[in-house]
């Protein structure tokens, strides 16, 4: 699991790659900590190389979304693969996130 956060053009660009399971979720949560201070900046999360996500990973995404909505910024998920999309669908997350 690798996580990167870059800031450019007034947005946060996040890349998630590998497997976001319960064991790796703690370290990802620490890496994504800066997003909780988004101060109105939009957040784009690139999931091209995200191969697996468990509910602990979904919790992190939900935490980011709640925080972002509270300060009026958007969260966009990009290039989500089919199997991860199925999980988002099963949990109803598909309707609360924006996709690109």
């Amino acid at each position: 699991m690798t996580t990167s956060v870059k800031e450019a053009d007034g947005k946060f660009y996040v890349t998630l790659s590998g497997e976001l399971d319960t064991a790796t979720a703690q370290e990802a949560e620490v890496a994504l900590q800066p997003l909780l201070e988004s101060q109105g900046k939009d957040i784009v999360i690139d999931c091209t190389d995200l191969e697996y996500i468990a509910s602990s990973g979904l919790r992190i995404l939900l935490g980011i979304l709640k925080q972002a909505r509270a300060v009026g910024s958007r969260v966009v998920l990009k290039n989500v693969n089919e199997v991860v999309r199925d999980v988002l669908d099963l949990t109803g997350f598909i309707s609360i996130f924006e996709f690109e």
Partner: protein, 701 residues
């Protein structure tokens, strides 16, 4: 015309009798299901409340520990009264649950401080701690019951919860007697614990819309409950007043309540309340569906009789009589054939050859959690009553075995039903079995039915213990037996219609001839279950020289044919870091059974969420425990079995997560169990030998 009217009347009479009979059975069935549901609710309630009571005790113990650990500090400073303020500040700063504390000295202890002296420290809203001396003419703590009790008994005590401050806060005080170096009690130290979280904690995880939990003191005074937005205060008070004893109690007709008491002082009580209408809803639905089916059946019965009446005009009376009997026989036969399995997998075949006058034979099988549940039975008596009783048994077998896997439990439930209101003294011989399709382990229990044959190298009788048939005595004891089948072994079940087939010389076909017929089948390699059943049937018909059947002839053959099974297992400890080992294990296992990517993803996630749930919740606090995962697959289905020895917890009883809520309203968490349920075909829980056993299966054909 006269005859037609007479037959109309007969038809009506039959319909009315059938209606009364079926409705009577339905009422008995409903009452019994209602009782089972209440008992089930009671057990679940006590498990849930027990866990919450332990959690609350644990929180209280933290405060007791704070007191014990800081005792030396107070005692070291007893010589200087003004140091007591700082001591109290240290004490309450040590534990986030403690919101205030005081130390009340016996009157006139320090001559310089007057008669009463009570240093008090309190956490303010902004997190700072303020101190004051609060004893005075309008606050005489020597009248306080907790103070007096601690002083008189010399042992610590917990006060009943009370409201204090502005705005009012629910508090409880832990009073601890302080002794000087001579061992004499000179003061009582009280720590105030905040209890405002209790009501919400008790009601944060309610499974049903109308259920709620409350807490009461030992004397039954209401301490905490749901918020008044959720449940009206009057309803909560009614529940508190109704609490009595440990059994699930129904009060005011509409509510059911169960309770537990905390195991150590303070002996507060937790109680859980349900609206009976909500917990009984599935049963009422079942009953409504039943009613619709019954009405439909009666309508068909009525029209059939009407049709016979019409044709009667052209027939002589004797012929009409025969048609009527045939009509009834057709109905009984239709009921029977409706119940029987219509399609058979490769390794199972069964059939009933109905006698002219239909008996009440039955067999059934279905697959659940990688196990085959099957039964065979014979109702005493013949015709429509036997066929109807058989229909009831069939639906009960399906209903009960959906929840219960123990064959004895299934027999007891069936027996209880049949014994209630059994005025006609009908009884049923019944054999129920459960075959684990991965391990070949066969569990069975026999209520007075003919012993089946086990086909290994040769056909041998299965040594079943003799028990009474169902419907004879309500307190009949049954026993579960087991044996292990090897791949290729089979079990042949039958009713006495087979062994009592008569030769022209009126001799019985008998078990010996059944065994001979089966051995003949075994001698020929690779006969299918269908061929075996037909071959035994042919032997019986040859023996009777094809005389008409006197009784139903029923046979069921099940072959244990598991194919190649790939197994593996992993044992981990309850630590989230172990999930990476689980992931590696699962990936390796899926590559061994060549599972496609999408199915592998879903099953890995279902398993991970179920195991994480066990890691997080099965063992209390920092206790280390093991979780073992067994994986089995025949390349048609995967079965994961998760075993832990933690606290009894049934994750399948958790209410499904609400996935329709908008982001802002979503609780964080609660998704894991939801995912497991959605991704696996079946998820079932049982408690076996002190272990939690959770089984997930998924078809991968």
């Amino acid at each position: 015309m006269k005859n037609i009217r007479k037959n109309w009347l007969t038809g009506l009479r039959i319909v009315v009798i059938a209606a009364v009979l079926v409705e009577g059975i339905s009422i008995v069935q409903y009452e019994s299901l209602r009782r089972i549901t209440l008992e089930d609710m009671n057990i679940r309630t006590r498990i849930t409340l027990g866990a919450m009571a332990d959690e609350i005790s644990h929180t209280l113990e933290m405060t007791e520990a704070t007191m014990r650990e800081n005792l030396w500090m107070i005692r070291a400073r007893l010589g200087n009264p003004d140091d007591m303020f700082q001591a109290m500040v240290y004490l309450i700063d040590d534990n986030p649950q403690v919101v205030g504390g005081c130390i009340s000295f016996i009157p006139d202890h320090y001559p310089s401080k007057g008669r009463l002296f009570e240093p008090y420290a309190k956490k303010e809203a902004d997190g700072t701690i303020s101190v004051s001396q609060i004893a005075g003419p309008d606050h005489d703590y020597t009248l306080n019951q907790a103070f007096r009790r601690a002083l008189e008994t010399g042992v610590p005590n917990w006060s009943d919860p009370y409201l204090y401050g502005e705005p009012p806060q629910s508090l409880t005080t832990y009073s601890y007697p302080i002794r000087d170096d001579d061992g004499i009690v000179v003061a009582v130290c009280g720590l105030d614990m905040d209890l405002t979280w209790l009501g919400e904690y008790l009601n944060s995880n309610q499974h049903l819309k109308s259920s709620f939990a409350i807490m009461l003191t030992e004397e039954g005074k209401l301490v905490a409950g749901p918020s008044s937005e959720k449940i009206p205060q009057a309803e909560v008070e009614k529940a508190a007043a109704a609490l009595s004893g440990n059994a699930m109690d129904v009060y005011h007709r509409n509510y059911a309540i169960g309770s537990v008491q905390m195991k150590a002082s303070p002996f507060w009580q937790l109680a859980q309340v349900y609206r009976t209408r909500e917990i009984m809803a599935p049963i009422l639905k079942l009953r409504r569906q039943h009613m619709v089916l019954v009405l439909l059946g009666l309508a068909i019965l009525f029209f059939m009789i009407k049709r016979f009446a019409r044709s009667e005009k052209e027939l002589r009376i004797a012929t009409v009589e025969k048609a009527r009997i045939d009509g009834e026989l057709t109905i009984a036969r239709n009921i029977q054939s409706e119940m029987l399995p219509k399609t058979f997998p490769e390794n199972i075949y069964g059939k009933i050859e109905s006698a002219l006058e239909v008996g009440g034979d039955i067999f059934d099988f279905y697959r659940r959690d990688g196990q085959l549940f099957f039964c065979i039975g014979d109702v005493s008596g013949k015709g429509i009553p036997a066929a109807m009783l058989m229909a009831v048994i069939h639906s009960l077998f399906r209903e009960i075995s959906k929840r219960e896997e123990n064959t004895v439990t299934i027999l007891h439930a069936l027996n209880d039903q049949l014994c209630q209101g059994n005025d006609s003294n009908m009884f049923v011989t019944f054999f129920v079995g459960r075959l684990d399709l991965y391990t070949g382990k066969l569990y069975f229990s026999n209520a007075g039915h003919d012993k089946p044959f086990l086909l290994t190298g040769s056909a041998e009788l299965l040594k079943t213990k003799a028990h009474l048939p169902l419907g004879v005595f309500p307190d009949t004891a049954f026993e579960e037996q087991s044996c292990v089948l090897s791949p290729g072994d089979g079990i042949f079940l039958y009713t006495d219609g087979l062994t009592e087939t008569k030769s022209p010389a009126r001799e019985n076909f008998g078990r010996e001839r059944v065994k001979a017929a089966l051995d003949a089948c075994l001698a020929q390699a690779s006969m299918t279950p269908g061929e075996i059943v037909d071959s035994v049937s042919k032997a019986a018909h040859d023996y009777s020289e094809n005389a008409p059947l006197r009784d139903d002839l029923t046979m069921l053959f099940i072959k244990f044919d598991p194919g190649e099974i790939v197994r593996d297992r992993l044992t981990i400890v309850n630590d989230i870091d172990e999930v990476s080992r689980l992931s590696a294990f699962v990936k390796d296992y899926f590559s061994r059974i060549e599972l496609d990517r999408k199915a592998a993803y879903g099953m890995r996630l279902a398993l991970e969420e179920a195991v994480v749930n066990v890691i997080n919740y099965a063992y209390p606090g920092d206790e280390t425990g093991e979780v073992t995962i067994y994986a089995e697959s025949d390349r048609k289905e995967i079965r994961f079995t998760i075993v832990d020895s933690g606290f009894p917890f049934d994750p399948t009883s958790v209410l499904p997560a609400d996935t329709t809520l908008d982001a802002i309203d979503r609780p964080i968490g609660g998704l894991g169990v939801h995912l497991t349920r959605k991704l696996a075909d079946s998820v079932s829980y049982s408690r076996k030998h002190g272990n939690n056993v959770l089984t997930l299966t998924k078809s991968i054909l």
